[in-house]
């Protein structure tokens, strides 16, 4: 397994600690920041990164290990978000920050839609409109607010793991 994939395990383990013990306790209305989504979107949008799918699988598994969400829901949500980010990388590659905002916007909506659908399928009576207003919209705002710093931080990590080849 390449180093760039292996490093995702400690990265997401650390993010899970931060997410569950810190950021989940700082809600905006009832929405919270999704560190996993920010990192996945930022990682997938890096030019030289080739391990975005592997990272999304690791993120989904670690999230599911801690969360009570139905099995597979985070995996699907993060997988779809990564797919969108990769598509945006191909389409909007000249404006990476714009692509980041778009990836976070659609990623938040997708992960929340998948979580909500999965929860309703297993019998959680969560009202969709209320959840959208009280959870999804504030989460979206928080995620968009931290999209740019997350992109910059992950850009540094990507530059270390995928250094630019020296021109001869």
């Amino acid at each position: 397994m390449p180093m760039a994939t292996l490093i995702s395990i400690p990265v997401f383990a650390l993010l899970m600690i931060l997410q569950s013990s810190l950021f989940s306790r700082i809600p905006l209305l009832y929405g919270t920041l999704d560190l996993f989504l920010l990192v996945l979107a930022a990682w997938a949008l890096q030019k030289r990164v080739q391990t975005a799918w592997q990272w999304s699988i690791v993120a989904g598994l670690i999230f599911n290990f801690v969360s009570a969400l139905p099995l597979g829901a985070p995996l699907i949500g993060y997988g779809l978000s990564t797919g969108i980010a990769l598509a945006l990388r191909r389409q909007v590659w000249q404006y990476p920050l714009l692509a980041m905002f778009a990836a976070v916007f659609f990623g938040t909506l997708i992960t929340h839609a998948v979580s909500l659908t999965a929860l309703r399928l297993v019998g959680h009576p969560i009202p969709v409109l209320e959840a959208f207003n009280l959870i999804t919209l504030p989460s979206l705002l928080l995620n968009l607010m931290l999209a740019a710093p997350a992109y910059a931080l992950i850009g540094d990590l990507a530059a270390r793991l995928y250094p630019e080849p020296l021109e001869s």
Binding site: S21, T32, V66, A68, L116, I126
Partner: protein
Amino acid sequence: MNTTTSRSLQTIVFVFIAVGLIALALGGYLAPLSRIVLNPIIAAQTWISQRYQAVQELVNAPQDTARLRQEILQLRDENSQLQAQIIELRQQLAETSVLSALVDFARANPENRYQAAAVIARDPSPFLNYVIINRGSDNGLRRGMPVVTQQGLIGRVDAVTAGAARVMLITDPASSVNVRLEPGRDAAVLHGQITGDLSLEMIPQDADVQAGDLVLTSGLGGGYPQNILIGQVTGVRSREQDIFKSASIQTMVDFDQIEIVLVITNFRPIDILPLLPVEEAP
């Protein structure tokens, strides 16, 4: 001889003059004169002294400033250490008071066995009201065990690992608890909501429910032991066309600030699902 006599005479005159001057000075008669003489001297002394002190300060200033800066840094350091100590002690005090209340609760309910645990995290999904505690199967925790604080029921263990457990709070939308109301003893079902509020459903229309009634677990369904306090009714909603009334309730537990909880370890939930009638396919 003459010389000796004139010197003695001079001495006597001087002594007299001196005594006279002293007597005049003691009597205050020389004050205006001394003021006239002394004032310029005092002024000159003051001026010279001030200039001297200014020069001395100028010469010693760099050393003093450096010393004072060092002292300020030391004092700031001490201050921050003391502040940190105060915060730590306040935290310990708060923890001690919580633990003391939990011990009181455990003493008041001796029929149960408890395992204390600290809340270390919340579920990362914003759709779920779960917390994670730092005790697991190694400490005797099992799935379904009720979790309480000194202020009442907060939830039950949903999943367990060796060193940690996930607790579904009663405020989770998927949570439902069979309760009874005191003093009327009417049965109802408590549901959580995504906003973290609690609502009572399935209250019979003929039930006499008032704001202020206590809500306790009924033990029905086998999911929770009976008589654990949950909260108080704050308002009742009733419409004639509905079969049941509903009510909102207020708990004493601040679910956002839970720090330490007690898991009731001698309670085993009963799975009544096999006893429920199953609809057979036609």
